[in-house]
Symmetry: C2
Subunit: 95 residues, 2 copies
Amino acid sequence: MPQIAKLIGGKWKLIVLQILIFHGTHRFNELRRKIEGITQAMLTNQLRALEEDGLISRKVYAEVPPRVEYSATQKAMDLNEMFEAMHRWWVTYEG
Amino acid sequence: MPQIAKLIGGKWKLIVLQILIFHGTHRFNELRRKIEGITQAMLTNQLRALEEDGLISRKVYAEVPPRVEYSATQKAMDLNEMFEAMHRWWVTYEG
DNA sequence: GTATATAGTATGGTTTTTAATACTATTGTG
DNA sequence: CACAATAGTATTAAAAACCATACTATATAC
């Protein structure tokens, strides 16, 4: 698993994935509000990258104002075990 | 677990940890040979960072030529579940 | 005396990430 | 008409990560 760091690495991807995996579908600005410190450009960026890697899916509604919803794909959902292990570890050592 | 990415992130840390956790203590140049593409400077770097975060320990032997051994600490060892989950996922989707 | 091996440090440069800011389109409301 | 809300894009700049290369010390082998 040499390149897993690319899928998951960086400052924001884990946070985005965690939200979408454990708390379901979110709109762009909902994510923005939940992830403090992230800029709009960065969020767009990370979402695009995650989409390219097949970890999230993007659904655009033809409404005004526009609505775009992001969800975790099955591929991302299957990361939940990893997240849970990570979380247990985190609680033990840094929580 | 917001900052876990810092402990684990980057291009090399996961690889270094995986080697030390699952294959035991290694000397500097043993690691260097196992991790293709890494430079000496980068390896030193990553090892220092991991040491600072308490994930690896460093033992220097007063010999010539010098010998320095790196091992995973218990804290790092406890990441094995995360690694295993990660590995299963990797095999499913990218293997 | 020369070469070799180990585990580094130092320096400079490139590439990638991240950030800040301004800008767009659309339509319903007052 | 002005304004607000959403989900972006574009541009520029700054910071961080990464890489290549050269250099060090030391004892032993030849």
